[in-house]
Symmetry: C2
Amino acid sequence: MNQTKRKDAKASKPLSRIQEANRKAILDAALDVFATSGFRGATIDAIAARTGMSKPNLLYYFKSKQQIYQQVLEQTLEDWLAPFEAIDPEGDPVEELRRYITAKLEMSSKRPEASKLFANEILHGAPVVGSFLETTLKDLVTEKTKVIRHWVGEGKLAPIDPYHLIFMIWATTQHYADFDIQIRAVAGSQAGRPGFSEQAAQAVLTIILNGIKPR
Amino acid sequence: MNQTKRKDAKASKPLSRIQEANRKAILDAALDVFATSGFRGATIDAIAARTGMSKPNLLYYFKSKQQIYQQVLEQTLEDWLAPFEAIDPEGDPVEELRRYITAKLEMSSKRPEASKLFANEILHGAPVVGSFLETTLKDLVTEKTKVIRHWVGEGKLAPIDPYHLIFMIWATTQHYADFDIQIRAVAGSQAGRPGFSEQAAQAVLTIILNGIKPR
DNA sequence: GTCTATAAGAGGATAGAC
DNA sequence: GTCTATCCTCTTATAGAC
């Protein structure tokens, strides 16, 4: 992840504690605003208001709206991929995938804004993360497809295409964050109940894991 | 779908053939632009340019950007739900679901803009279709959950929650349209090949249908 | 560091000629 | 019906006082 000039340049810019706190507050607020409004829909005013700062003061910390957006995205991507990277080729296939799906569902439930931010970026043509997708992510996915293919070869999984399995997991898990409005509208009372997330996890795991068990 | 004043008011506004053609051209162009740029990101200029019209001329046909957006969405929703409504309670469960999933994947492949437009609308809080989701769609989904539950009761499907099965189908099928950029970036050469859509359909059907078969 | 004021520009919408 | 010109609002970004 390209983080050319953040807190590294200690020599030229020793950021104070308040400065770091302010930057973080801005990025947190920006995540929410960008997630629900998209890049164009978001305004610096809205982000500033959410942090209690004035608009020019916010631009004292980040030189442009674009820059805030990029940094929020970068920050988010790292967390986002961690559980995917953690899939262990040596582990039990079904158990590894169960762990991965569970982790992603938990992220969708606890930080839906992160998922929405990412969805927005891709939906609009991935102007910022496009090259990241074509390099880092592509390599990572290629690696994991090999792992899955190996599992299939050993007879530990049904013969499914690794790419589509991965896409399916991404789709289902992120859907609960990205389309939460629709889910709440449609499932109504059900979606409000406390155990709903767990119920979702149960259902997704049941279907996918049953679907890929060798028979 | 609320279509209070479209081509119904024949008495006050008998639209000519060219008028209808122009309106349609505008709505087609608008679908593309709104889908890739979102409501805020889209400009009347961009839509006008795509139709070869001038901005004011476009506003002769529709009185505001908002109005164009609403009509594009309404128009899209009808097509979007047709295959869902068509799920037949009397049919064979697995066969009905196979037909539905296949139809949705085909729509994602042939008209990804429609899916993206809808995704955008939901992602941003469903400002226009919110009430539609809470009424018409909710009722429709409730009806279909009963059908699925009935199938489960008869032992024709594994005991899965109907809501989550429906969400899963929506998620996976629409993912191929909404995230096509990511899919192409990650799957690279694979995604370019002619049989890719069919391969995707095969994989999705295999996993979901295996996942819900009674055992 | 944080504010008020304002420049600069994009984009939605209208007026009015043709 | 379609165009050119224009108005006006919203938003990004900067200048400069405190």
